[in-house]
């Protein structure tokens, strides 16, 4: 998944530090590109239908069965040999914004009404040995017209008995804090699970945990899942060198710098699964110090993210399925570097992100989802200067989605070789980059960024 701002283009070096803070995670609020996690190679490996692991028979919204498959290291199998852990995915879309954008959002696109091939991906996804599995995605981005390493999560998992209770102990090596999480409440796998690459899916400010480091870091975390209920995880990350970022297709020029040695990700969650329904509740945190110039002893920008999340799923007989997800992240920033170079007026500041969404699926085929999102933060005239109003990063809005997933069930055509989702999504903004009206000083209102997104999403 790549984050892409419609207004991005080439970022001048002078503002690169700020871009790391503000733009690096910009559209990840809504998952600027598909967060695919429904690959038919998993279905072929396990003998299961897509609907066993995914609400609505399409990823990435996981059922408890799907969560346990992920926690188990993608290694569960029907016991038959000869399964090839490879899959593919294509996403094509049409995007229309309420008002034409000032400039085309990318080369080869128009100011409005864009028909795009958003992604063509290949996956190494599945069991590599009894205890080792992988979900590694390489993507050709049809908008940027470049290829890169996308989400990567390689896992080692072992199941044992502890005090008479089943426990899974595992290790994840991945390139994006949160990509390893089995719940769909954190930003990486949260709703909307797909979003326009050339429209608007969120404001420019976002927390560091919300996609700010994705694919430019490498980390490892150890986790435990005890008695199918208690989930605990602790890990750390390091920044990839600019040359490795370049080789993996991320672009050397957008390097966010070096991460401090104290970078840590942690997670605690409780899952209560009654089969007919389930809920989860949890806490998570991400701490890092980023040194933009990679010079030892230089000033850093410090981010302390703390979040709380919860979810509820009514699965019943799977004919009528309803879900609710919510999360809140509070980020405390200490911007010593930004302050030192004159790109922030205040050393300290905070950002809060809130999301809630509810979905209904009929016969695992017809889906309706509604979500609210809100980002709020302290004012800073320099940090939130150009492109913002009132010195404020505040953005809020609503996302509505209707989708149709004709395959992915037991008797579906193409199972377990192919799946398809067609959808219509509309994102409405109450406020964008600090204001309802004229947020950019050029007369553009928040509602002018309202985005209609029609997509065809297939995997095989």
């Amino acid at each position: 998944m790549k984050t892409r701002s419609p207004s991005r283009g080439a970022v001048p070096r002078r503002v690169r530090r700020r871009s790391v803070l503000l733009l690096g995670a910009s559209v990840a609020l809504a998952g600027g590109m598909p967060s695919a996690h429904a690959v038919p190679s998993f279905a072929r490996q396990t003998g299961q239908d897509c609907a066993a692991c995914h609400v609505g028979a399409y990823g990435p919204q996981l059922t408890p069965y799907g969560m346990k498959f992920k926690i188990g290291g993608y290694t569960d199998t029907d016991g038959k040999d000869g399964k090839v852990p490879l899959s593919g995915m294509l996403v094509a879309a049409f995007t229309r914004t309420e008002m034409d954008q000032a400039e085309p959002p990318a080369d080869h696109t128009h100011r409005n009404n864009n028909l795009t091939l958003d992604e063509a991906s290949v996956f190494l996804a599945g069991r590599l040995s009894d205890k080792l599995g992988a979900f590694v995605q390489a993507t050709y981005d049809g908008v940027e017209q470049r290829s890169s390493l996308d989400h990567a999560d390689v896992r080692l998992a072992h199941t044992l008995e502890l005090a008479g209770r089943e426990a899974v102990l595992g290790l994840s090596v991945n390139n994006n804090p949160g990509v390893q999480d089995p719940f769909n409440t954190l930003p990486t796998w949260g709703f909307p699970y797909i979003g326009s690459a050339v429209g608007f899916t969120g404001g420019n400010a976002a927390t560091m945990f919300n996609g700010g480091l994705e694919h430019r870091v490498l980390g490892a975390s150890a986790y435990a899942f005890i008695d199918n209920s208690l989930y605990a995880e602790l890990g750390t990350y390091r920044a990839l060198s600019p040359s490795v970022q370049s080789r993996t297709g991320q672009g050397r020029g957008e390097d966010m710098g070096r991460l401090g040695g104290g970078t840590a990700y942690w997670r605690l969650a409780w899952l209560q699964d009654w089969k007919r329904q389930n809920f989860s509740a949890g806490l998570f945190g991400f701490n890092t110090d980023i040194q933009p110039d990679r010079l030892s002893g230089g000033p850093t920008n410090r981010y302390r993210d703390l979040g709380v999340d919860a979810s509820y799923q009514f699965l019943g007989t799977r004919e009528h399925v309803g879900t609710v997800y919510t999360s809140f992240i509070r980020e405390r920033q200490t911007r010593n570097d930004l302050f030192a170079v004159g790109e922030a007026d205040n050393r300290k500041g905070s950002l809060n992100e809130f999301r809630i969404n509810a979905s209904y699926y009929y016969k695992q085929t017809w889906g309706l989802t509604a979500g609210r999102f809100a980002t709020r933060g302290n004012r800073d005239a320099t940090l939130y200067g150009d492109g913002y109003a009132n010195d404020s990063p505040d953005t809020s809005g609503t996302v509505l989605q209707a989708d149709w997933t004709p395959w992915g069930k037991e008797d579906s055509w193409g199972a377990p070789w192919a799946n398809l989702r067609l959808g219509l999504q509309y994102t409405m903004f109450d406020k964008f980059n600090g204001a309802r009206r004229n947020y950019d000083g050029s007369g553009r209102d928040a509602k002018d960024n309202n985005t209609l997104f029609m997509f065809a999403w297939t995997s095989f």
């Binding site: 396990t46 003998g47 299961q48 239908d49 066993a52 059922t63 069965y65 346990k68 569960d76 029907d78 016991g79 038959k80 199918n228 089969k275 007919r276 699965l315 019943g316 007989t317 799977r318 004919e319 037991e410 008797d411």
Partner: protein, 131 residues
């Protein structure tokens, strides 16, 4: 587009419709079959199909009643299940569904068990209707 009605659903419909006429029984048993089908959908259908020859993570449960354990072709059973010697009579199904790990130690079914005896009874009645 019309969706083909699964043969299992037709059988269930026939059983529910004709049973009171055929044997003068109350509709209680029919309601139990319906409830058993719902229990199956909630508890079992992720991993088991009732379609003949359709194996998922677990083997097909078509015509499971009275069948010898580990006898579905093209399904990879655990050694424990192969050696269990179980024949799936109602009592054996009840014991297995109540606590799979106790009934077949070393088996590979990842299911904690269905505690409610009434649910098990209805589920087994439903499975028994699948011929």
């Amino acid at each position: 587009m019309f969706r083909r009605i699964p043969s299992s659903t037709l059988r269930l419909f026939m059983a529910v419709s004709l049973m009171p006429l055929a044997c003068g029984a109350s509709v209680t048993h029919a309601a139990d079959l319906r409830h058993g089908e719902e229990v199956f959908a909630q508890e079992c259908a992720e991993c088991h199909s009732v379609r003949e020859g359709k194996n998922k993570k677990g083997p097909s449960l078509s015509a499971v009643a009275g069948r010898k354990a580990a006898s579905v072709a093209d399904f990879v059973y655990s050694d424990a299940m192969k050696q269990s010697g179980i024949v799936w009579a109602p009592a054996a199904l009840d014991a297995y569904v109540a606590n799979p790990r106790k009934a077949v130690p070393g088996g590979k079914m990842k299911y904690d068990g269905l505690a409610d005896a009434h649910d098990r009874e209805d589920l087994i009645a439903y499975l028994g209707s699948l011929k």
